[in-house]
Symmetry: C3
Subunit: 255 residues, 3 copies
């Protein structure tokens, strides 16, 4: 006996699998080979009967159990969510977005291709995130510069940015291409391309190419040693992004 | 076919809506117009058959999906929870409590009216929270001064307190009326009315009326510019609270 | 009407209780008196048909609602999880592991006996944790020394370690017997037995026996005043562990 419920107004591609106790609401479009886990709400909280207010999830995506995705978002192929994830409305995402367990995307956000968020990440409303960005556990993107207020200054993260575990990104922060925040940083202002920022004052402490692992002599930017984690078709873009980040080194002391 | 389960011992007001796969247990009283989402446990884990051990949720409340609320709490009208919230037993809350997604209220807590908690907030056992308090993401109210121990020194937050994202409130902390903790502060001790505290040493760095947004010239305390977010009937209370906080400015340098 | 689903290949001990809307998959072995809450996935995501890839949960365990436990782990008697917990594959745990609500154990981890994790704890892949360890809310055990990379340097926590709320444990950290991290510490390197570390630089600020509560004159290590929280059969081990930690005091100034 099954408790899954799939709206007759949903469009399901070939080979779609829907978990137990999961509900797929109206105006949901699932690409070929999409897998939805158990206890999920897909396309919930539709605002009105607007047929344009569609939730599209691209081919080959996997949504893990207890995840809630609101109506009115579009995800490219290869979306992956962890368990207990939450994605509100009007999100636009490119290819292969990865959203960790307990991660909350608050609506009106834009993600490029191949963005990876670990668990407990909070992506504040209206955030703009480029391609190949990494957000580690507990990273929070705020957007209110004077809480509480009606003001909104979302965070912008350009291509190749890495934000390590436990960082808070203050309202209006812009991290430029390939910049890097170390664990527990309160990031603020306009962070230069390739800069490493650290600490409660978001101080620039070097260029990302200065980061390396002594034991294995692995050296950042990560595009040098981690491109194999991505599919073949992404690697040329990764190589070129790595070159742009490497070039930003010239602006740094001891560059 | 529905998998919802509603106890015959629960009392449901007019227009109550219960989501799919949700269980409403014994001794639950839901006011008129309450909406409960999917995959919720409402009134679970009742300790014994005590008929006084009631869970009451006031009129017009909304409990979002995957939320667990234990028996033995009372919430005024207009409770709102996000998704995946957790509220343990013996909580008492006034009007319009808002509990964000993944937020955990640990039991024996008291909330005044119009308290707003964002996501991933942990409200330690026995916390005392006044009216119009704001707790942002990842704020943690501790209560054990020598972990682990049998000691309990819960946190007290008076009316109009604002605690920004990622703060840890140390055991026994009291934040007085309208005081304000900036992002990532380790708050401790007795924080004076209207004081701003910041950093790992919980240093007082000014009065809340010194906080403003340069671009829009919006100025705190928030009661000056954010009262419209609340219903009409709350605004006179908000105005008077704002005046009390403003008056606390006299005690500060450059007051 | 029930929506629970229990595989015929699962082995259930005497007095096992399975919640509503819960699925128990193949190759799951539940000891006597195990209680599983609602909306749980027990033994999900089995990798292949390997009959050795078993999930064993020991006698007297309680798994609370909305919890996901993957295949291929072994838990001793008395496991307790909070709500919305997540435990991935190949975890090995001794007696009475406690996993708080929203806590995520990432796989390949080893826990000794009587480990307690509060909520929102992230135990990175491959972590090694001894006996009688305490991890408070939001504690994160990382494992990648150069994120993102293919490198893995998991964290090791020896017996009796206490990690207070909001700490980040950097890759490769080893905390030796009975060492203690205060709230919000970025812990790194090799922390000596009994040492207290604090702050963003993980500075040693004393020995754990220097920690006491002035009001009640309760003094750490906690084995002196908190052993009663554990069952009778554990207390002799706790007493001996406390003596070892106390002995480490000799190496400290003002020891």
């Amino acid at each position: 006996m099954s408790c899954r419920r799939i709206s007759e107004k949903a469009l399901l591609g070939a080979g779609v699998r829907i978990g137990e106790h999961t509900t797929v609401h109206d105006h949901v479009v699932l690409g070929d080979g999409v897998t939805i886990g158990d206890y999920c709400q897909i396309g919930s909280e539709a605002h009105g009967e607007d047929a344009d207010f569609v939730l599209e999830i691209g081919a080959g995506s996997t949504v893990r159990s207890h995840t809630v995705i609101y109506s009115g978002s579009r995800f490219g192929a290869g979306l992956q969510t962890g368990h207990h994830a939450l994605i509100r409305d009007n999100t636009r995402a490119g290819l292969s977005l990865r959203i960790g367990s307990y991660t909350d995307v608050e609506g009106e956000c834009v993600f490029g291709d191949y963005v990876s968020c670990h668990g407990y990440v909070h992506v504040g409303k209206g955030s703009r995130i480029g391609d190949f960005v990494w957000l580690y556990s507990l990273v929070t993107l705020t957007n209110d510069p004077l809480p509480p207020s009606f003001l909104e200054r979302p965070v912008t993260l350009e291509d190749g940015v890495v934000v390590c575990v436990g960082c808070i990104l203050m309202p209006g922060t812009r991290m430029r291409t390939g910049s890097y925040a170390t664990a527990g940083t309160l990031v603020k202002g306009d962070v230069a391309a390739g800069a490493i920022v650290s600490g409660r004052d978001s101080a620039v402490v070097g260029h990302v190419s200065h980061l390396f692992d002594l034991e294995t002599m692995t050296r950042h930017p990560w595009m040098r040693h981690y491109a194999d984690r991505y599919p073949e078709e992404a690697r040329d873009r990764i190589r070129r992004l790595g070159e742009r980040i490497q070039a930003s080194r010239a602006a740094f002391p001891n560059g």
